[in-house]
Symmetry: C2
Subunit: 698 residues, 2 copies
């Protein structure tokens, strides 16, 4: 599934480089303030007006669970994927009422369920602040320049928030080539309207993930509320009357998480030889731990389901990335492109003096990264994470107490004023917590730390405090009071004196690891990140000078526009048709009758006789997307919804490093399949009426 991998932080240095080539075919994840107007016109005869762009931009949402979505009715109805929503569905579930298993439907407005820990962001404005950021770093050495830029980013966010009250983020583009201020309308009252059962939403399970053809209803609807009532949406995407046709031009607007398409060769080698293998191995390890935990009881399986799904999904993504990186062909192409650009820089004395050393400097930074990564990763890459809810509370409570004593710009970036509300909401989350699960995850993290660094490393000695990982995890989880929201509030509101006096074992664990985490973070920022920022900025400048600025930056989990067409492909010499149908789902269930993953739920079996079996269910298209795009709307020239992105095929997984339209495809649920199933499988009349009411009249 193409949501943002939970574990993207595992990759220590997903740096974002400018493009080595101009876009080809329907390539590109384009900025909304730099849309590919000329390319769309030349390739497809489509002219996007500024009004069209703004309407689309303000109809899209970024989902805080790591995905995308869109507003699809005048009453703030939001469409996204079930797998983007599933974290929330789990938090709304209990042993007795399992929404993951059974699905959910709010028969009336009053039945819509308020969601914990969920907010939706609508991108309102973008401002280029590059000159201001670069100005702050003039004349400083690499590490100081990096620190000055980070400080100014926080200041700009704080200023903007004070000025207009929106949620503000300064986004680093081209890995340091540009800085844009993004201001979002943030919605925190979001309610669940409809979700299918997982057996339909994730039909085919991990086996079928990233495969095609597919037959899963990976869709969920939320509603945005404002002042206790449904949002009166000025911008939303209407439902298409007819869906998309084979070969039709359409668009995807969403939040691709990260790409590394034009990292330097040395940087890609670091990813190939260190970062990606390490991340893949860690995911596989987590998968086995989670499966072992899940096997112990049905309730354990319910509790761990979300983590397991997320880890399995990311594991497939990383295996795909690895296989891309291990293809010598990829490196041959990257090497040729890099040599060409470097030759152009070498040939111009002024350019050579300004930018000529950038590649070598980045290579040095990567060599440093390879040395630092195990210890940097062990303490959560400076974010201090052990993959455990109560430890995360402890860490944030501890750091908040320390950081709030400093001016916003001097703090660790994530404790700046602009993000404080969201952070406190997270600490006060009412979502259910499970001690046994906390213990397992903490043991997994502590043991992993020792496995990576060895039992005599000072970080490990501090973490284990003389105990084996399991004993230490039990001590912390059984002893902590952080399961209690009131206790978390008491500590946050009490501030530094109260936190310093707190003897909670989970806080103590965070306290023991905090100095290592801060130290490794500073080292990494000074010797890796700042080096990358400075030198990728040079490469970006070189690229712009040689090729012009008509390139898109690598993905940054910010809103991007992709264009492409509905289109089949060939696999093992046989054609794969662009559309699947409801009939295909029933055929598949018969073909794999002995396997639980392919059993259709009762709702679908019951509805078979009334369904139009020729209804299009899924389609594939050439859009250039990646993890984070899950839940993105697919819409036509008129801005009408024709589909819902939820996945890419297996061939698309090398997309981190480059785009191809030969076999790589995006996978969407067809708007007609969504509507027909809402009507005849789930009988959600109110929702059908709302979507039909928004439908464009032709």
């Amino acid at each position: 599934m193409f949501h943002l991998p939970l574990h993207r932080l595992l990759l220590a240095s997903l740096t974002l480089a400018p493009l080595a080539h101009t876009a080809r075919a329907d390539e590109g994840m384009w900025l909304f303030n730099r849309p590919p107007l000329a390319e769309m016109k030349a390739r497809h005869g489509f002219e996007a007006s500024p009004e069209w762009m703004e309407h689309v931009q303000r109809s899209c949402v970024r989902v805080s669970t790591g995905g995308s979505g869109s507003i699809v009715s005048a009453d703030g109805l939001v469409m996204t994927n079930h797998h983007v929503a599933s974290d929330i569905l789990e938090k709304l579930s209990s042993k007795e009422s399992n929404l993951i298993e059974k699905g959910f439907w709010a028969a009336g407005l009053a039945d819509e369920l308020k969601c914990p820990d969920l907010h939706l962001d609508v991108l309102w404005t973008i401002t280029d602040v590059t000159e201001r950021i670069e100005g702050a770093a003039k004349g400083l050495g690499t590490a100081d320049a990096g620190a000055a830029k980070r400080k100014l980013q926080t200041q700009i966010e704080d200023e903007a928030k004070r000025a207009r009250g929106l949620h503000c983020e300064v986004v680093t583009l081209y890995q340091g080539g540009r800085y844009h201020l993004y201001e979002y309308k943030r919605f925190e009252d979001v309610r669940l309207v409809f979700a299918p059962e997982t057996q339909s939403a994730f039909y085919g399970g991990d086996n079928d993930n990233f495969e095609y053809p597919r037959y899963c209803l990976d869709a969920t609807f939320f509603r945005i509320y404002e002042n206790g009532a449904p949002l009166k949406a000025e911008n939303f995407l209407r439902w298409s009357a007819n869906g998309a046709a084979d070969g039709e031009l359409c668009f995807v607007a969403g939040h691709p998480g990260s790409t590394q398409r034009l990292n330097t060769v040395a940087h890609l080698e670091y990813l190939r030889d260190a970062a990606v293998p390490r991340a893949t191995t860690r995911l596989m390890r987590a998968e086995v731990w989670l499966q072992t935990f899940s096997g112990r009881s049905t309730e354990n399986a319910r509790i761990a389901r979300g983590d397991l799904f997320s880890v399995q999904n990311s594991r497939k993504v990383y295996v795909g990335r690895l296989s891309g990186l291990l293809d010598p062909q990829l490196f041959a192409e990257k090497r040729t492109a890099e040599e060409k650009l470097r030759a152009a820089v070498e040939a111009n004395p002024e350019w050579k003096a300004k930018w000529g050393d950038a590649w070598e400097k980045i290579a040095q930074g990567q060599a440093t990264a390879a040395l630092l990564a195990p210890r940097y990763g062990a303490v959560g890459q400076g974010a201090l994470s052990l993959g455990t809810e109560t430890f995360t509370f402890a860490k944030d409570i501890l750091r908040l107490a320390d950081e709030l004593g400093k001016p916003s710009g001097e703090r660790l970036r994530e404790y700046g004023d602009a993000g404080l509300d969201a952070l406190k909401n997270a600490i006060y989350s009412p979502a259910p917590l499970y001690p046994e699960f906390e213990m397992m995850r903490l043991e997994m993290a502590l043991s992993g730390m020792a496995e990576t660094l060895g039992g005599n490393d000072p970080i490990v000695l501090a973490a284990l405090a003389g105990r084996a990982p399991r004993a230490r995890a039990e001590e912390c989880v059984k002893g902590t009071k952080l399961f209690d929201i009131a206790e978390r509030k008491r500590l946050v509101e009490g501030g530094k004196a109260v936190v310093d006096a707190c003897k909670d074992p989970m806080i103590a664990l965070a306290r023991a690891l905090d100095p290592f985490s801060r130290q490794m973070r500073k080292k990494w920022e000074d010797e890796v990140t700042s080096v990358e920022r400075e030198n990728y900025a040079k490469i970006a400048a070189a690229r712009f000078a040689v090729e012009g600025e008509k390139v898109y930056p690598d993905a940054t989990f910010t809103l991007r526009l992709s264009y492409g067409t509905v289109k089949g492909y060939e696999h093992n010499g046989a054609p794969v048709k662009p559309f699947t149908t409801f009939g295909g789902a029933y055929a598949k269930a018969e073909e794999r009758a002995t396997e639980a993953a392919y059993a259709l739920p009762k709702s679908w079996l019951d509805a078979k006789s009334v369904l139009e079996l020729e209804t299009p269910f899924h389609f594939v298209s050439t859009h250039d997307i990646i993890g984070g795009n899950s839940g993105s709307p697919v819409f036509n020239r008129a801005g009408e919804v024709v589909g819902l992105i939820f996945d890419g095929n297996i061939q698309s997984l090398v997309g981190n490093y480059g785009y191809s339209d030969v076999q790589s495809r995006s996978v969407s649920v067809d708007s007609r399949g969504i509507l027909e199933s809402l009507r005849n499988v789930y009988k959600t009349n109110r929702l059908v009426t709302e979507l039909e009411g928004s439908r464009a009249k032709r």
Copy 2:
């Protein structure tokens, strides 16, 4: 399950050290030529006569799939575990006839099924050859001494085989302190008599593995044939009339695989910080690859089942070992014992001069091991393995062609004359091969090599030959003719000229990796193994001088005797009873009704009304065993079978590093449960009569 982990070779240097303490409680895996006569008499009043020892020794078998077994009738009937036999059951299965799923019962002697790739070894004689081996190394430097000893080991094996025609192995004990020549009667005509369905044999699946209480019939019966007829066994264990009672003294004779109970502290740190974490991670990685492959179809799941089971089993073992190694208490005890012994050596000038440097030398060897291990492991630790059947054929064909040109003692150890017959049998194995599975495993190995060493390592470049791992695996598997037994024979019989001229891509892959593998092996043998042999021999001598020679050597997958009693234990403060019953199995199935792993097979459901539900099914005992002991008989003072070892509980998994009788327990199927299920669930009257016929009359 306590069979020998398939992947034990993953552990680069499981060195075997002499004991730091004298045996306590019922500790010990005792040599048959040094039985613990005094201990058994003192603790349990039992006197084992030489005749008793020899009778037991010659009633036991070592199973070539990596387990233990015993002869239990005068007609050569052999009892072992289903999970020890399952590799053979898979080789006897096809898509159409799945013995793993359905089980097997030979109604008449003529129906007994000849097993491919299986031989059973009965230990006939043991001779101490330490003086001869040590004499060969006199005055040589460390590496040369190591090489001279290895060469002489092969010569002694060849001589003995020529002299008496038995299968001969020189066993290194006390990691170099002693060398014993073991001569075995080898039986290669072994036929399958009975196996239950896996749903009964592995009831509870991976969840319940290494847990207790348990309810699985992990038993299988083979029969040894000689000259086409059932073996007339001179030695066999009779079936007990009454089984074992709570608290009763009994014995286990079997083949524990390896322990590291008294490695030096530095050596244990290497295991904790490098070897065991790396092996654990590789197992988890393999588990995920195998599960992904299995998920694609029911047939894939059938094909991969054995590998998946073996990997999951080993993973549980390694997680258990890791948690033991990560317990600071363990290291504190080891450190105290080591300091005590070193102090005794330091206090005696003669001892100090002879042995005083041994600990430091081993620490240096371990530091070298940590550096060499990734590359040494990548090429199969000098054995050159990529975990793929056809590659293994290719490697053995290639190496045989090279090695047979040298005298036996000059060859790589495993190509010495004494082992040639077994090696050729393995190359000519008629067991089924599956191209898709070969491709997956080869891709997994090639990718793993690149993930570990990086894409620019010469080993990786040689292995991939300019292709991505998947493409390279396809090229080799699709292009090789080694699926054909006749082609394998042609190459082996053709010898070096024919093999040199062979362009088979799998042979070419082996040829590309062979020099690296030999080079790494020589480096490892010279700088790690030889250092360990030399210096552990010193430590052994020091130990014998200080504490006397009344210690057992670490396990070496050779026959050992353990004694102990049937005994429950406490877990989380609650008592765990020593016996389970058939009734417990039905209760468990009800309790976990929604989980496939806990469904009882039809045979058991059908038999419920005729079964005596109070029949003992399993029991736990204090015997000191470890992986490789699976299938060992448990017998009483009279030498009568009362149980069948198949597992240890989760608390026993730290047994590699030390023994405790507080919670650690061996788990056996009760002889009464076996007989009752054969009679009333499987209705195998012929087998029941044979076992009852052998039963001791009381």
